[in-house]
Symmetry: C2
Subunit: 133 residues, 2 copies
């Protein structure tokens, strides 16, 4: 746990506190307020280590940089296809869905529980309605 460097500790703590799915850059700016000497590459490197160690989640975005998420209670994401905004929702992936995937893809891939569904947020939707007139 705590045989982590000071820098890695700070980075993990920031991500734990933020409930906003921050980008690497946002994390960097926040950590800088605590340790102004930290370098961007240290932040990126440690974020990757934390993902590798499954302490945080990476969320790949349809637009803009990746976002990160502390893994506490299991939750899933709905992501806006246009602007990339992320919404959390809480729901156990149904067994029937898991079974069906297993049936179709057995021997190829095994699931890791985390579910992402695409949508269009109402902000982007109302923008589009204006354009399309």
């Amino acid at each position: 746990m705590s045989n982590y460097s000071k820098q890695r500790e700070s980075i993990l703590n920031i991500i734990k506190k933020l409930k906003t799915h921050p980008t690497a850059e946002e994390i960097y700016m926040k950590v800088k307020q605590i340790d102004e000497r930290i370098s961007r590459s240290t932040v990126y490197r440690n974020i990757n280590i934390l993902v590798e160690n499954a302490e945080i989640n990476k969320i790949s975005m349809p637009v803009g940089p990746d976002r990160y998420d502390y893994i506490d209670n299991k939750h899933n994401h709905v992501i806006c296809e246009k602007c990339g905004k992320v919404f959390d929702f809480y729901y156990e992936v149904p067994k029937t869905l898991k079974n069906e995937i297993q049936r179709q893809l057995s021997g190829k891939i095994s699931l890791t529980e985390s579910l992402e569904i695409n949508g269009i947020c109402y902000e982007c939707k109302s923008k589009k309605e204006k354009w399309e007139v």
Copy 2:
């Protein structure tokens, strides 16, 4: 439909033919075999237009460049978190899941049917088992 430029037609046809979730670069290389004068920026620009027009899907990857997918029959994706390999599966998103998301996030976002579930493919899994010993 066909008040598209010659270049855009070629790009769409290539994506239709390929069942491999190609990257922009892969599409560019294929189109080049037909029209060797086409430029990379034309390929990128038209891919974005086709996504905007909902003729193709963009798949954001956990690793490496985005991939694209012709929208014929509805299908969803399971994506390897480590290497980004994409597997198709066919399944209607259950109504209970849709309803639950609607209940939790109503007024914020509306779904667009396309579902992405993360996993770890067996190739990456067997690699990891070797490391972890």
